[in-house]
Symmetry: C2
Subunit: 428 residues, 2 copies
């Protein structure tokens, strides 16, 4: 029997406390499955006095996570502090430099510094694992990095922010406005301290950028994700989409094209009958498409104590078993810098605009679209209210560039009030 | 750079040819992801002359898979011969005894000899991996063995025979009888040479028994799976289930209870709106429920060249990366012999019977159920045709033992024609 694997856990919020509970309560199970004991040497958090519902007196305490990360009695540093910089980054760097393996749930850290940290891990013979950073309890990092490693990945899609999906689902099911659904989610404690991380799509884009790196062997390129939050999605859009057989989801999509790597996180229409369309509430879903395997769909809880702690401990179990896979599934030195491509793969788009009550208004809009090369697949105009009529258009497949040209030309028609809403229809 | 990992591939059917293609076409990708080359030393099949759509002249040839398995230039023996005994078993045993790692897609072999082979692998310091044996391209063995290893697994469910799901889906969508849908599947080449492997649920039960062993740390107990095929499911059942908001699936379920390990593979009703209920055609789905992670759903192609070869190569990639996990996720010597428990967890049941046109007939049936302790949740009686009326009953939760007692008592009422159909409603 090997010596026990000794953890140092930094950050004792919900997930940290969940990890401590699993280690305490499942020692027999974990030892049976890994062939060695898993122990906690020491922990670190901001407030030593706080009751976290789990006894901590058996463990050493460090006020500073950097000190924890480099303790001699720590084999694996578990980083649950959060934040792309500051103590989380300092402690992870210190751990790797000291030759400790690292398990983290920190998507922001890896989205911003993944390449440097992967290189640092390899330079020091360490592994850096982050299953809990993407889609909570769903073992999607493992599936993409390991199980599907013989595939050329053709597309990865994901609904990876439960709060946004909750808001969009509640708008539809409850007939709520965005503001009402947002307030409800806020009241339930679903929102990050900075809500823009959720509803602005940033949190989900962090996750997408990590999936892209694994899928395409590229350096993490979070800044290249085309990002649009859900704040402009209206109940009208949701109802109209539903009438046409679609649901609106904050959908991350990445694919490698001849022009470069497309990564987008934006509200999209997906068929209501597809697994993505059927996903309701706070659940997450990741869809991976490979040239050999076809389409794999994975669905589960994207957040919460148990699911996230399950993912953290999955990584710990791997390390206890001696599994050592590179951070992004290939040596850091071989990850290439991707050429970012604006979403250029042609797709149909959903457009909603408010048309002035003037003769020939619709014709002018149709002309503007046509002149930009955007052709119309379906169109509906509704009754005028207050001298404006809602118009819905579904285009044939078009490039985003052509669509943008059309949208740029529309104000000059003088017949459209406000900015049109344009959402991609992702074919799944 | 390490030496290349050298494969010996036995069995060159669809999947074997697919594996050869991947190794040939993806050498750069595989080398980038694993840090070493993957090569084929030699192959084996029954007919050397057959054109398999892929060049084989670069590789050694062995008529006997046992000889292939023990070649000095083979590091990993890939067994795609099939069958629970015979050459497949002999070759896998020979490979393990010779210290070769083994990757197999052979569910029958492992369902019948998994414990002995796992022990043999460990005694010889080898790994024995079988991702492709369960649910085709879905990396579910990896998810259960590794990603979710920190969970006590509360239930595993699966639709894991695409042919059965195709037949059931076609009965519903096309209004076909079982015989018609069976003939259609046969014409499309979906059925095994012995169709009972598919429609009798045996193939799917093989897979379930492997999932059970991993989930509960038990020795594979295929013989303890309560098995019922889809041959008695009628179009009436499918229609009636649909009317009540359910779909009928050949569903595998395993759970550990206080009385022992329940494993069943049988036609069950599941809510039409659930992921399992929405699964159509030949696609597979596995649902894993853990005490920490909640419910994880995985969906994908369960068969076919690309998906199965993807799973085989996922195992090969693991071995190339040096990952060494025990066959069933715990040392073979620690796998305990499970006490098989007949499905004793109370569940609601769907009953359909044909009631004679006699006064008080329905009351007699209701009494028989009541006396056995089975209470009725919903009941529908339809018009009499030819002096018999179809009666549908959904019971409240009851044990299978109580239900069986009621079914045993029903003939004595003298008012029911033929055998009642009884299907469990699995709550998902």
């Amino acid at each position: 029997m090997s010596d026990p694997l000794r953890l140092g856990i930094a950050g004792l919020g919900t997930v940290g406390a969940g990890v401590v509970k699993i280690v305490r309560q499942k020692s027999v199970l974990l030892e049976a499955r890994t062939g060695r004991g898993i122990a906690i040497s020491a922990v670190s958090a901001r407030n030593r006095e706080k009751d976290r519902g789990v006894p901590l007196t058996d463990y050493g305490w460090e006020d500073d996570p950097v000190t924890l990360a480099t303790r001699d009695d720590v084999d694996v540093f578990v980083e649950l502090v959060g934040g792309s910089d500051g103590p989380a980054k300092a402690a992870v760097e210190a751990a790797l430099k000291a030759g400790k393996d690292v398990v983290t749930a920190n998507k922001a850290l890896l989205a911003h510094h993944g390449q440097a940290l992967a290189q640092l891990a390899e330079d020091n013979g360490c592994v850096l694992r982050f299953e809990a950073a993407v889609a909570g309890g769903i073992p999607v990092i493992k599936a993409l990095t390991e199980g599907l490693a013989a595939n050329d990945i053709t597309r990865v899609m994901g609904v990876m922010n439960g709060t946004c999906n909750y808001i969009l689902t509640r708008m539809e099911s409850g007939g709520l406005s965005y503001a009402e659904a947002f307030a409800e989610a806020d009241g339930l404690g679903f929102l990050e301290a900075d809500p823009e991380l959720d509803v602005g799509g940033i949190d989900a884009a962090h996750k997408l950028s990590l999936l892209s790196a694994i899928a395409y062997g590229t350096q993490v390129a979070f800044d290249a994700v085309e990002l649009e939050g859900i704040g402009r999605v209206s109940i009208d859009d949701i109802r109209q989409a539903s009438d046409m057989g679609y649901k609106i989801k904050l959908l991350g999509v990445c694919r490698m094209t001849g022009r470069g790597l497309e990564q987008s996180m934006s509200p999209c229409l997906v068929p209501a009958s597809s697994p993505l369309g059927q996903l309701e509430g706070g659940t997450n879903m990741v869809v991976i498409e490979g040239d050999q395997v076809g389409q794999i769909v994975m669905r589960g809880a994207g957040a919460g104590e148990g699911p996230t702690a399950s993912a953290v401990m999955g990584d710990v179990v791997d390390i206890a078993r001696g599994t050592r896979v590179t951070t992004f599934g290939a040596p850091a030195s071989r990850l290439v810098q991707a050429t970012p491509a604006k979403a250029a793969t042609p797709a149909p788009y959903y457009l909603r605009m408010s048309l002035a009550d003037k003769p020939g208004a619709l014709a002018k809009v149709a002309s503007a679209l046509g002149e930009a090369g955007v052709s119309i697949h379906r169109m509906r105009q509704y009754d005028h209210v207050d001298n404006a009529a809602p118009v819905l258009i579904v285009t044939h497949k078009t490039t985003r560039a052509a669509l943008d040209a059309a949208l740029d030309a529309i104000p000059a028609t003088g017949v459209v009030q406000g900015d049109p809403v344009a959402l991609r229809i992702e074919q799944v």
